[in-house]
């Protein structure tokens, strides 16, 4: 439980810290930016036996993300919850290896951006075009792969050193 919480806290704050060191705008996305919190939600999925606790964690992280990083309310909570549902389904379906985890991570980040785009488009919060969405999605791939690989290897290394109990 503690390891899972530490993983999530690190990723959550990493999001803010990295944003202060990267130079990017919506029209000039950085190749080094991704949604670190979502990647961690996917990585820690295997440590949850109780699915409700897993979805609850995703929802709470989404709420905090809303509060600190996007100045919205509930939007990211719903998105993170949805992504947790999808990630959990595919984690159960695919075998636990570095390639499948990376595929799920990249797909989840894409889904996040696409859903944000659709929801914000429906509610007319802002007007963007699909080309911009594609640029943002493609620019997030590199860092998603790097961070997923690091977190996957780190979580496996820690689980060989200490026993990470399943959250029931």
């Amino acid at each position: 439980m503690l390891v899972v919480i530490i993983f999530n806290i690190i990723s959550f704050f990493l999001q803010g810290i990295i944003s202060n060191y990267l130079n990017y705008t919506i029209s000039n996305p950085s190749l080094l930016s991704t949604i670190y919190t979502i990647i961690t939600i996917i990585i820690v999925s295997k440590y949850f036996d109780d699915e409700r606790k897993y979805y609850f964690l995703a929802f709470i992280l989404g709420l905090l993300y809303d509060l600190v990083y996007t100045n919205t309310f509930v939007l990211n909570a719903i998105l993170f919850f949805t992504i947790a549902l999808i990630a959990r389904y595919f984690t159960n379906l695919l075998s636990d290896n570095i390639i499948s985890v990376n595929i799920i991570s990249v797909a989840s980040i894409f889904i996040y951006h696409i859903l944000s785009f659709i929801i914000l488009g429906i509610i007319s919060y802002n007007t963007y075009n699909i080309k911009l969405l594609l640029i943002i999605c493609t620019h997030s791939i590199i860092m998603t792969l790097i961070y997923t690989t690091i977190m996957y290897l780190l979580s496996n290394y820690i689980s060989t050193k200490i026993e990470i109990k399943l959250i029931r």
Partner: protein
């Protein structure tokens, strides 16, 4: 049996539809640009930002160390330039007093409400930038405790950045002028030193990184390279803040109005320090 199954399916569909409508309704409310943070959101954000500052401290220290080293290398050269500038300061000070007097007289004469000299500057550091691209906001480390209020204008040394949209005790959110928000049109003056043309900032082109200005008649004289400043009309943004320079001029499909693309003077991908403009008559 089949009828019961169909009825259940219909019930599930209705429930999903109701949930979807409720979610969209909640999001519509929460995503409106003028929604204010509630007290719990404010406290929560303050706490997390403070923790983030502590976590980021080692990284910031390393960054500052490198910056200091680079600054030190240039210090002798800068010192010589500054010495020569000091001599000019006294004469500038006298000229400034005279200009302030003139501005006051002209303001009274022209009945202009807010100009830059009516404001004091509060410097702030950007503690968080929106990581999700879509929202175009930054968070600064000054809030209600520093008398920051919603609607205050935010600039940096290069020009206009945006305005404060949400305030908590220790932080404030700033919406950048690069947001395509139809409720936030800003009146601007396009000038080449001789003539002045009034226009309206009407969005941002994410493809060319340009601010779009509309409402300028095709008969009016605007040239590439003209400077764009806030006009002060509307009462939110004081007059005289640099927005950018005219980069491209086209005509709308009816041939009646100009569509002007302006290169912003501020580099929005690298904002670290800003100044909040506080009216001198506010506390």
């Amino acid at each position: 049996m089949a009828r019961k199954k169909t009825r259940n399916m219909r019930l599930i569909l209705i429930i999903i539809l109701i949930i979807a409508i409720i979610i969209i309704a909640i999001l519509s409310y929460t995503l409106t640009s003028d929604r204010k943070q509630n007290i719990f959101e404010g406290i929560g954000k303050d706490i997390i930002i403070e923790v983030e500052k502590v976590v980021a401290y080692p990284f910031d220290s390393i960054k500052k160390l490198f910056k200091n080293y680079i600054d030190l290398r240039n210090v002798r050269k800068e010192n010589e330039i500054l010495k020569s500038n000091v001599d000019e300061l006294n004469s500038l000070k006298a000229a400034n007093t005279e200009l302030e007097k003139e501005i006051k007289e002209l303001k009274d004469e022209l009945n202009i409400e807010h100009v830059l000299t009516d404001y004091s500057y509060l410097n702030a550091t950007v503690v968080n930038r929106n990581t999700n691209y879509w929202y175009n906001t930054i968070t600064i480390d000054k809030g209600k405790n520093n008398d920051i209020q919603t609607g205050m204008v935010v600039i940096n040394g290069k020009g206009l950045i945006g305005k404060v949209t949400n305030v908590s005790n220790f932080t404030a959110d700033v919406r950048l002028i690069t947001t395509n928000d139809s409720n936030n049109k800003i009146s601007v003056t396009i000038t080449n030193g001789e003539s002045k043309v009034i226009g309206l900032m009407n969005g941002y082109s994410y493809e060319t990184n340009d601010i779009l200005i509309e409402g300028v008649s095709n008969t009016q004289d605007v040239k590439v390279g003209d400077m764009v400043y806030t006009s002060g009309l509307g009462g939110v943004f004081p007059s005289g803040i640099l927005v950018g320079t005219v980069e491209n001029i086209t005509t709308d499909s009816y041939g009646l109005a100009k569509i002007i693309k302006v290169k912003p003077s501020v580099s929005f991908d690298d904002i670290n320090y800003v100044s909040v403009l506080k009216r001198s008559d506010t506390k």
